[in-house]
């Protein structure tokens, strides 16, 4: 999506696990202007949590690093980019498989990418070994006004 965005936010956090909640809540607050449902907000929070947690535990392996979070609003769509300059992913297609994890000893479920994929409308993962990883996700927030209008029309004819 190269169209001009209507709004933008940028956030940089250190890869500390207690910054994860801060990141997800901040993105959710930014998304609020699209008037999402509680379910849509919860989907967004979960997806952000997965990507940020991955940067912390896989990208930087709990060493200190910077995670960048950019979010944009285009019409009714929220776009979120989360990137780290950590170790990178060797094979992205394998990493995205459900249940695949390189850290089973940490009780990882290997469901992070599956959750991002399901809870958002699109998911793109770019990564270079030794350079870092960037996850881009988009979600269209359904327009409640349109829904209301439809309801009103239904009422009109009822």
């Amino acid at each position: 999506m190269n169209k001009k965005y209507k709004n933008k936010m940028q956030l940089e956090i250190l890869s500390k696990s207690n910054n994860e909640a801060f990141a997800r809540i901040t993105v959710a607050a930014f998304a609020a202007q699209l008037d999402p449902t509680i379910e849509e907000i919860s989907d967004i929070k979960t997806a952000v949590s997965e990507a940020v947690t991955n940067s912390i535990i896989h990208g930087y392996e709990n060493k200190e690093g910077v995670i960048k979070i950019n979010a944009y609003i285009y019409d009714n769509t929220l776009r979120i980019e989360i990137s780290d300059q950590g170790k990178g992913i060797e094979d992205i297609e394998i990493a995205k498989q459900p249940l695949y994890t390189t850290k089973p000893e940490l009780e990882r479920s290997g469901m992070g990418f599956t959750i991002m994929d399901n809870f958002m409308d699109s998911l793109k993962v770019e990564s270079v070994l030794g350079m870092g990883t960037k996850v881009t996700m988009e979600k269209k927030i359904k327009d409640k006004n349109t829904k209301e209008e439809i309801n009103q029309e239904e009422n009109f004819y009822a």
């Binding site: 509680i38 379910e39 919860s42 989907d43 929070k45 979960t46 949590s49 997965e50 947690t53 940490l106 009780e107 990882r108 479920s109 290997g110 469901m111 992070g112 599956t114 959750i115 399901n118 809870f119």
Partner: protein, 80 residues
């Protein structure tokens, strides 16, 4: 928690999710870890007071095939 489970070898471990308002795959990993231990000892794991958004994540990860959610009714009438 694991120590308590191993010491008592319970038939049923019920987690009250009343104060759990956010779930991600890290939580799934944690639950699965407890499930494995309890299951190995012949017991069962169940959840109560699960919020809708939390349930959506559990459901998506297929965990509800292993761990059941009991509602108020089941608890009150001891059917679980």
């Amino acid at each position: 928690m694991d120590y308590e489970i191993e010491r008592h070898m319970p038939k049923k471990v019920i987690f009250d999710f009343n104060s759990v308002s956010f779930m991600d795959s890290a939580g799934i990993g944690l639950l699965l870890g407890r499930y494995k231990i309890v299951n190995m000892l012949g017991g069962e794991v169940a959840l109560i007071n699960v919020k809708k958004s939390v349930k959506k994540v559990l459901d998506m990860c297929g965990i509800l095939k292993l761990i059941h959610i009991y509602d108020d009714f089941d608890m009150r009438f001891n059917v679980c």
